[in-house]
Assembly symmetry: C2
Homo-oligomer: 349 residues x 2
């Protein structure tokens, strides 16, 4: 039976939303849940909700890492934080995967202490999802996956190839997209000679890779267009791009206010735009709607946004169940083993 460890202490809203999501999932899904957090609180919250008690076990964690704490110090000082205990349950084989809405840096540091990396993985990757117009795979998934969005600022050619392999394996499992298109986020429409050495090297390796459907370097506007199912980039680049994409409503309002000051925009158009943008704001806050993976460790981690409420957490749990019941890690191993050898060194950085 599939088991999922759920860190209930990570999000911005406290454990109640996690308990809501897990209580519902214990009835809907054929999955066992290891609920990690403050035992008495969790037991009390569970007693107030309809759930299947045979599917839920509570594990006490006396401590938690706050969303805005210094992650390095907190992880070192709190070996019994909920995220650490959840990771331990996975490492000990009691669960196959881990769902959390915690501080990303704390998750990465904890995972680094608890899990080995898959052979051939240099940097692990923090992925994000982005809604696009395009539908993909059997599940008609509207989301594309971007990785890395900040686990490591720099990526060697070898890292970029590994991100492509891991992202592709994940999409094939979660979106049932058998041939996910992988693009390397690059500096515009320049001739190939203008690419950075890492991208040039990774691009050559991906063209040779039998298991990756590589569509070439793409430019930043290809992300919202949905040209690629998997957008591969360094963590530095990914964090710049996702920040601008997530803040698109703010950018629009900022430009509209500029335009209005300059009298280039009529008041009516400004009001129209603000109305539409306030609706759009809800949508571009898409991380509320589910989870995205951290890839590269021997165990997959599904990370929900800190702002997640029960609905998003329920979606993240469904994703985790799909991942836990799949051969994701084996697919990643196979994909990494098939990397052309000349991309394996990652000499440049």
């Amino acid at each position: 039976m599939i088991s999922i460890a759920v860190d209930t202490m990570g999000g911005d809203h406290g454990p109640a939303d996690f308990v809501d999501a897990v209580a519902a999932a214990s009835i809907n899904l054929n999955v066992e849940f290891l609920l990690v957090g403050h035992e008495r609180t969790l037991t009390a919250l569970l007693s107030e909700r309809e759930h299947n008690p045979e599917r839920i076990a509570v594990y006490h964690a006396p401590d938690a890492v706050g969303q805005y704490e210094d992650a390095g110090r907190a992880v070192a000082a709190k070996p019994d934080a909920s995220i650490a205990i959840a990771a331990r349950l996975v490492r000990e084989g009691l669960a196959q995967t881990l769902v959390t809405a915690g501080n990303p840096r704390a998750i990465l540091l904890t995972a680094d202490r608890s899990f080995a990396r898959i052979a051939g993985v240099g940097n692990v990757a923090l992925a994000s999802v982005f809604p696009t117009e395009t539908r993909r795979g059997e599940k008609e998934d509207p989301f594309s996956l971007i990785l890395d969005t900040g686990a490591a600022p720099r990526a060697t050619a070898h890292d970029l190839v590994a991100y492509a392999v891991m992202g592709g394996a994940y999409a094939s499992v979660v979106s049932r997209n058998l041939r996910p298109r992988v693009g390397l986020l690059s500096n515009g429409t320049e001739e190939e000679a203008e690419l950075t050495p890492e991208i040039r090297e990774a691009s050559a390796a991906l063209r040779e890779h039998p298991g990756v459907h590589y569509i070439g370097p793409i430019d930043a506007m290809d992300i919202p267009r949905g040209t690629a199912d998997i957008v591969v980039c360094s963590g530095f680049t990914g964090s710049i791009a996702t920040k601008l994409l997530e803040g698109v409503h703010e950018t629009v309002l900022s430009l509209a206010r500029y335009a209005y000051k300059e009298r280039a925009m009529k008041r009516a158009a400004l009001v129209m735009l603000q109305g539409g943008v306030s609706q759009l704001k809800q949508l571009t806050d898409w991380e509320q709607y589910g989870g995205a993976p951290i890839l590269g460790f021997e165990y997959p981690i599904i990370r929900a946004h800190g702002r997640s409420h029960a609905r998003a957490l329920h979606n993240a749990i469904k994703i985790a169940a799909k991942v836990a019941g799949s051969d994701l890690i084996a697919r990643i191993r196979t994909g990494l083993a098939a990397c052309p050898p000349d991309a394996g060194d990652g000499a440049s950085s």
Copy 2:
């Protein structure tokens, strides 16, 4: 008297818009123009427009580099292209600066053949402007300057410091902004330890620089917010950011269509949004409205967008006149000379 060489063959719309802009400027401004392009065409176009013939000299260029040609090959094959002749006029002292709307890569390659770099400059920088809500300097300039946006994909710490110095000197001359705030575009709100080595090193050097008003690392959303007057980044990062910022209307429409498919957005809101966005599209096409500099050569170059019409070119000419009549290059020299010595090596890349 100030002299400006104008390459009339670079833009998307042919020389008529340049002749419109220069004809008007020859009457309005106390500036001499060296109009470079096909002599007979230019003479014919001038004869149809009111202008001051004493302020305009036509220089024949038998050739031109197309906007979408392979720049490397074209520049090598066409030594008498209009951009090359315009650069030659500047180098020979007949003009102090050069205005062009040509292929950016061709401009850079031509300038590299024609001009020396200012002592202490490694990479030259291609700047872009971005409208923000904030007003800056005596001229209440709503634009912030981003550099590098693609002259060189990578930047050492030394390059980043030089971009900050050059951008600051430019803003002090063009926006009469005496203390322009400089930000280093970075990977979000991470602790300083997570910065890339170049940014960490550049950040330390900028804090020590007596002539730069450095406000620290900034994140991508600070660009539209206008937190900094000068946004400094590598060409790779700058090209990703400007592509997303320029394409913001496209991103919004793409997200809105996604939302509508998902029925998360009502038809009325979609129509509202499209109305506002179509107005915004005109505005975010802001490169139409003026010019931005290429900095690092012994002579400043003002580049207008390829799509520029007469109004934008007239604005670019006004900027060029301001720059040509200023001590911009001397200010850059002074600023570079004041760089802390430990930022001068740029060992890492």
